[in-house]
């Protein structure tokens, strides 16, 4: 069972709640995914609106744990302030820390990320930093107090899968005891299965489910893929080789020339 910040999770699929065609589809997709953790955010709301309140009651009815993010923050100060606001609204110390450094790729500013993580961890937050596969950044995030890392697979919303297999494998190998959650870039269930086969602890999916033609069916497909990949990893995959090896025994082959 996956353990993050002392919480045991049966499901290794985290689901984002953004960009679904309707609140009803979101709700059904969360159920179909069997996710126990969903990501949420904070946005400006005028007093006349009640969209945020409605959304929050839907999430509460689902009985899942929420992981608020600091999406859209480009500075340490913005991210830290947003984290404090999220802790009050959502009643959790968990924070998916995003400090965005580049607008085209939405890649993390790992320098700001480490600084913000240090401030928040010291203030009692349980930080899930959205980072890259960079080993040095990972090391510094752990030193800053993070007990989970969320490396990207590919840029957010790109659906390109695991872009840097070498780097991600190196990250896994360097930090065998740290829960690693692939966050961002997963496009299809096979990407999620691949992440699990490589030994990652969980995946966070949003756009790939929300923007599928049938999000509920896709959520179920991802749940199966994550379970299959995870079981495959535990079963001990064979080593690839360059030359063929007959799978049917050659001893006793008929001589028919």
């Amino acid at each position: 069972m996956l353990q993050v910040y002392g919480i045991e999770l049966r499901s290794r699929l985290f689901l984002g709640t953004s960009r679904y065609p309707s609140p009803a589809v979101l709700s059904e997709a969360v159920k179909a995914s069997r996710a126990q953790v969903v990501t949420v955010s904070l946005r400006r709301e005028s007093s006349g609106e009640r969209a945020g309140q409605g959304f929050w009651s839907i999430i509460r009815e689902l009985g899942v744990r929420v992981l608020p993010n600091t999406a859209g923050c480009h500075s340490v100060k913005e991210a830290v302030t947003t984290a404090h606001m999220a802790r009050e609204v959502f009643g959790t110390s968990w924070i998916k820390l995003e400090v965005i450094g580049e607008d085209d790729t939405l890649q993390p500013d790992v320098f700001g990320l480490v600084e913000a993580a240090r401030i928040l961890a010291a203030d009692g937050f349980e930080v899930f930093p959205y980072t890259t596969e960079d080993l040095v950044a990972a090391d510094k995030l752990l030193a800053a107090g993070c007990r989970v890392l969320m490396p990207w697979g590919a840029p957010i919303g790109s659906g390109r899968g695991l872009n840097n297999l070498f780097g991600l494998k190196a990250l896994r190998a360097h930090f065998p005891e740290v829960p690693l959650v692939i966050d961002a870039g997963i496009g299809v269930p096979s990407h999620a299965a691949q992440a699990m086969e490589l030994g990652f602890d969980a995946v966070l999916i949003n756009t790939a489910v929300a923007q599928a033609a049938d999000p509920v069916r896709m959520a179920a497909a991802f749940a199966q893929a994550v379970e299959a990949g995870s079981a495959g990893r535990l079963a001990g995959p064979m080593e690839p080789r360059d030359l063929a090896v007959p799978s049917t025994p050659v001893i006793g082959t008929a001589f028919l020339k």
Partner: protein, 65 residues
């Protein structure tokens, strides 16, 4: 006086953040607040005095990835 709420200027006679939220009709809504970029916990809103030109952010739960 004028205050900037979620990026829009408005007139207010409220002297503190709690009164301003009440005046704007947030009622019992689940929101988090910041004054001039600093987080103000719900319990501290009555003590957060407002001045002309103050910037207030009122944030609510929203979908996120």
């Amino acid at each position: 006086m004028k205050i900037l709420v979620n990026g829009a200027w408005r007139d207010t006679s409220a002297v503190d953040l709690a009164a301003a939220l009440h005046e704007m009709g947030y009622g019992e809504a689940v929101v988090a607040t910041a004054l001039n970029g600093e987080f103000v916990p719900a319990g501290s809103r009555p003590a957060a005095r407002l001045a002309d030109g103050d910037r207030i952010e009122v944030l609510a739960p929203m979908q996120g990835g």
